[in-house]
């Protein structure tokens, strides 16, 4: 079983190997492990970890609740701030967020395992299908949420809590956004993304319409007419192009498409991958594509990034993860030309770069890496149509701190907004905060059905 042939093929590995390769990156803590891990928390005052969390979860409190045998109460503490706390526990780069800030680093260089503890508590509550929230009495207000990703789901949930009626539109057949189509498979096993969507929606008052795209099926102006408010959580649907010779050769693919297909595959054995793979980019997407290509059985996987290690968007932890799986990361290399043979990728010519007076410059020195598959992971971009006069800047939607856009009664949050961090947890925070802002705007406006005097 398995094969080492050149070309882009599925079934490179014996079947059993796929399963172990794509199992949980950080296996869940059992109860005893969770108690031991929680015992390390100092219950800090004005805790730095909490400040570092974009959703400001009360970390010392939720960890203490675990340590006192109350994981359900702990989950509520988490969900109060972050209704997608389950996914965030799996995908947050904690090493650059809460755990980086943990005071335990100072003396021991070993933080409290906040992410895994968060997963423990949320798992317990979700397994019991423990519901913490009920809808307030109906306000009679209707809100359209476009995009069922982390931003849209967080906004919809908070709006439902406040008693507003929500309709979510999403272009894709499944909800969850990149939780469903983007996050690396070994970070979200067992169909967790869909389970979480169901858990979030079970509050009621949220209708989801999949396969409905803004710009194709309806316009922003139409939504404004039908709804009291609109929230845009569109993410980044576009992919940056290389603009290079050979870009259209067979075997040059968008990393995000590769990952999406992989996430939708049950066995992973049906996902074709090259024998020699080159990934272009330096972010989380590049790492995820490279690691998963390797896990699918690619023999040689090389990430080429046009700047230095210190400039990579992928965290140290992610880079180490890639290295541990056998991915080679090469720096100061930018693509020059894709070499084809019979319309298929044969290799890639790269050119060394350097920083000159702070400007990236090609040195003229080139080399070729043989490859049968090349993934582009040089950034996603915001793709919007049907948005009317909505103000954009740098290709993204401009909002104020509460998520208000340039158009009245239209809010936005998540990756599609300018100045975000492009993280799941930040999208959740922005969606939640926009919902609060919408709720305040409703409260400030005259009541909808005012009593006849």
């Amino acid at each position: 079983m398995g094969t080492t042939q050149s070309g882009i093929l599925g079934g490179r590995l014996p079947l059993g190997e796929y399963e172990s390769n794509f199992s949980d990156l950080h296996p869940p803590l059992d109860k005893h492990e969770a108690l031991v891990a929680s015992d390390r928390c100092y219950f800090c005052h004005d805790a730095p970890c909490m400040t570092a969390c974009p959703t400001s979860i009360d970390i010392p409190l939720f960890i203490r609740q675990i340590s006192t045998g109350n994981p359900i109460g702990s989950a509520k503490t988490i969900f109060d701030q972050n209704i997608l706390g389950g996914m965030c526990a799996r995908v947050c780069p904690t090493e650059t967020l809460c755990e980086q800030a943990c005071v335990r680093n100072t003396a021991e260089e070993r933080p409290v395992e906040i992410g895994r503890l968060q997963r423990y508590a949320t798992d317990v509550a979700m397994k019991e299908n423990k519901q913490f929230y009920t809808r307030a009495a109906s306000s009679g207000r209707k809100v359209a949420v476009i995009g069922a990703g982390p931003a849209g789901l967080a906004a919809a949930h908070r709006l439902a809590v406040k008693g507003h009626d929500v309709v979510i539109y999403d272009a894709r057949p499944k909800s969850g956004g990149l939780n469903e189509y983007g996050i690396a498979a070994y970070k979200s096993v067992d169909d967790f993304a869909q389970k979480e969507v169901d858990y979030v929606l079970s509050i009621g008052g949220i209708e989801v319409r999949n396969g409905q795209a803004l710009g194709r099926d309806f316009t922003l102006a139409e939504l404004q007419e039908q709804y009291d408010a609109v929230f845009l959580g569109l993410g980044l649907a576009g992919v940056n192009a290389l603009r290079l010779e050979g870009e259209n050769a067979e075997g040059v693919e968008d990393a995000v498409d590769f990952i999406a297909a992989l996430r939708q595959s049950k066995t992973k054995a049906d996902i074709p991958v090259g024998r020699r793979v080159v990934v272009l980019g330096g972010g989380m997407t590049a790492i995820d594509a490279a690691v998963q290509a390797k896990l699918l059985g690619a023999e040689e996987v090389t990430i080429c990034y046009r700047r230095g290690k210190e400039h990579m968007n992928a965290s140290e932890f992610e880079q180490d993860l890639a290295a541990s799986k056998g991915v080679t990361i090469r720096h100061w290399l930018q693509p020059k030309r894709i070499a084809e043979k019979d319309g298929k990728v044969a290799g890639i010519e790269l050119e060394y770069t350097t920083l000159e007076d702070g400007k990236l410059t090609a040195t003229g020195e080139t080399g070729i890496i043989a490859a049968d598959q090349i993934f582009k992971a040089i950034g996603q971009s915001f793709l919007g149509s049907g948005l009317g006069a909505l103000k954009l800047e740098g290709g993204r939607i401009v909002t104020d701190a509460e998520g208000r856009t340039s158009i009245d009664n239209v809010w936005a949050g998540g990756d599609c907004v300018l100045g975000g961090e492009d993280l799941t947890v930040s999208a959740v925070a922005m969606g939640r905060d926009a919902a609060e802002s919408i709720n305040r705007a409703f409260a400030a406006a005259a009541p909808r059905a005012s009593a006849v005097a």
């Binding site: 015992d39 005052h45 203490r64 609740q65 006192t68 045998g69 109350n70 359900i72 109460g73 503490t77």
Partner: protein, 437 residues
């Protein structure tokens, strides 16, 4: 959601978590912060009589014991009652009570054991609008050398006398705070009841030397080369406090006397244990001093979540629920037989159970079976003592399994008797033999 509202001798508070009389309740600044954090009530730091206030040492007041990871397990202090002017305290109490009408505010009082002293201070306290008073008969250091605190609390006749004065000179509910530094806690509780107290609260701190500085040969905390015994509190004292609360709760003479449970309450679970053993509410000092006032949030959510999970709706549903199950040794069922059982899948083969049983108990756990390291209970030797369960590092690895009636106990070779029988009727009991003759 469980209803945590508390009614303790007519004093209402939104939850049963009060701060005990101690530094956390020393002044308005702290108490306001405590109420903001969610505490249901406070017992203000003990007031002394009018005149120049007491003074504290100006060096260390505390000593402690810790777990290996510096978890604070026990705290020891040599602090006295409030060192602030009586009228400053009274003014602040009045203001705080006005700002927080829904929270309980209790005045703790300690004045000399003379009728005039109590008669003088009670109207002043009453004027603050306080919901009740707590008589501090507990402080074991400093104040006791001056004939107050535990010096009173150790003499039941004094307790009864002072409680009587208080009941005579104020309409406020009287809570008598007991010292644990006494052989039989029922005696002072009975005396307080005889004097007419509305409730007792316990425990105050336990006389202790928490550690000794081996370089300077002096007890900790050391003040200028010398130390003194202090009052022990925090998680370590909980078992002692629980027993004393239970003793009063089940004593026929004090049965039904409201109890405010104090001593080592650190989590919701500690509080629940005090409540089911008969406490109407709990008071907390060390946990707040270790973690800050926010700790009450864990206690509130934990108690409420536990009650929800078990279907208990109000505090009345749980208060005293375990009291009928606390009994004397002589009434324990001697026909109940249990044996330890080791879950071989969970066992990590450390050998602690074996050596504990082999060296110090009943030689009932194997070390090798067929030459292989293997720990298993020999039912014909096991007396069911539970030691192995307590020394095993793996939770639920060793369990105590009840032998059903009728099965043969391998150790005695006799079937397990289904009938209840205790020491009072046991043939080896000389009293029982006498009665039978």
């Amino acid at each position: 959601m469980a209803d945590l509202r508390n009614n303790f001798v007519g004093i209402k508070s939104p939850n049963p978590f009060w701060l005990a009389s101690a530094p956390p309740t020393d002044k308005a600044y702290n108490v306001e912060r405590a109420f903001k954090a969610g505490w249901g009530g406070v017992v203000w730091k003990t007031l002394g009589e009018e005149g120049p206030p007491v003074v504290n040492v100006n060096g260390p007041r505390y000593g402690a014991i810790w777990g290996a990871d510096r978890r604070l397990l026990g705290l020891n202090n040599i602090e006295l009652i409030t060192d602030r002017d009586l009228y400053v305290n009274l003014r602040e109490m009045k203001q705080v009570k006005m700002n927080w009408p829904d929270r309980a505010l209790i005045a703790s009082i300690m004045v000399p054991c003379e009728e005039e002293a109590w008669k003088a201070i009670l109207p002043l306290v009453e004027d603050t609008g306080a919901d009740g008073i707590e008589l501090n008969f507990g402080c074991p250091h400093g104040m006791s050398e001056r004939g107050m605190g535990s010096a009173v609390g150790q003499v039941p006749e004094y307790i009864e006398m002072v409680v009587r004065w208080c009941k005579q000179y104020t309409r406020m509910p009287v809570i008598t705070k007991l010292t644990p530094n006494i052989t039989d806690i029922r005696k002072p509780a009975r005396a307080a009841k005889a004097g007419g107290t509305d409730a007792v609260s316990l425990i105050n701190t336990i006389n202790s030397i928490v550690s000794v500085d081996l370089d300077n040969f002096a007890p900790n905390p050391t003040v200028g080369g010398k130390g003194t015994h202090g009052g022990y509190c925090g998680p370590a004292v909980k078992p002692i406090a629980l027993n004393m609360v239970a003793e009063i709760a089940r004593d026929p003479e004090t049965y039904g006397l409201p109890i405010s449970g104090i001593g080592g309450v650190t989590t919701w679970r500690d509080a629940a244990e005090f409540l089911v053993l008969g406490a109407g509410n709990v008071q907390v000092c060390t946990a707040a001093m270790t973690y800050g006032f926010k700790i009450v949030q864990e206690m509130i959510s934990g108690l409420s979540d536990w009650m929800d999970a078990k279907g208990h709706r109000t505090l009345d549903d749980i208060t005293g629920r375990a009291v009928p199950n606390v009994t004397d040794w002589q009434y324990l069922n001697l026909n109940y037989v249990a044996k330890a059982k080791i879950d071989q899948d969970a066992c990590i083969k450390c050998g602690r159970c074996h050596i504990a049983c082999e060296d110090t108990s009943h030689q009932a756990i194997t070390q090798f079976v067929n030459g292989v390291r293997h720990f298993e209970v020999m039912e014909d030797e096991c007396v069911g003592c539970n030691l192995c369960v307590n020394v095993c590092p793996v939770e639920n690895c060793i369990t105590m399994e009840e032998l059903p009636a009728g099965t043969i106990d391998q150790r005695t070779g006799k079937p397990v008797d289904p009938n209840y029988a205790n020491w009072t009727t046991h043939p080896n009991n000389p009293m029982a033999r006498q009665a039978a003759e």
